[in-house]
Symmetry: none
Subunit: 104 residues, 2 copies
DNA sequence: GACTTACGTAAGTGTCAACTTAAATATAAG
DNA sequence: CTTATATTTAAGTTGACACTTACGTAAGTC
């Protein structure tokens, strides 16, 4: 979970995520978007993202196609919510309590 | 915004954020929670978090007291939601359909 | 089998950031 | 002004990691 946070907090890797977010892409297509960076370098970054659970791989012929793995971001979202405005949290909690009470 | 992401993606700094989240703390109190780490080291981390907009400082006598700055996390939340978009779900579904078709 | 395409992996290197110790700064109190 | 306390800033060291080039691997084509 923290591994995912570390993985995406690197400029090249973050760019990869933004690219793949729009539509799944092959490793070669991803690497094509980076000039001044070799293909192995990009491949290594993809490996980190995959290990962190932010990307999934699928093979098609000699190509490997990657897409976002939304579940990998779910945990991060929860992690961040802990730092959200306490006043909002209280409001939210109160609203949910109210909701429960109303249902019973 | 990305600076904030990088700032919190470091174990010591993330721990600092978790500590201060509960209640504001002085630099000394924060440093007291880390054994095997000098005060200057912690101070430098605090500096990074402050610069990234995740902490705010307030002075009281010789002490400097820090607390979370929720606005600093707001942008990050939005950033993450870009990867948790309903459109992604559609993409995933389409990809799975494609996968099935390819296999048959 | 030989070749090509599309990748990943291995091994080595250079840079940067997380640390250290030492010195500086700010506020308070005698 | 001197001393004490709380903390940052300066300067220098070192290990991790983002790169490179070279090699390995897997699938497709002739």
């Amino acid at each position: 979970m923290f591994e995912a946070l570390q993985a995406m907090a690197e400029p090249t890797r973050f760019t990869i995520l933004q690219l793949v977010r729009k539509s799944e892409m092959s490793a070669g297509e991803i690497a094509g978007n980076f000039k001044g960076l070799t293909r192995p370098a990009v491949s290594q970054h993809i490996g980190v993202l995959k290990k962190a659970g932010l990307l999934v791989e699928r093979r098609a012929g000699t190509s490997r196609i990657y897409r976002i793995r939304p579940q990998g971001f779910a945990g991060l979202k929860i992690l961040l919510e802990d730092f959200w405005d306490p006043r909002l949290e209280k409001l939210k909690a109160a609203a949910e309590k109210e909701e429960k009470r109303r249902k019973s």
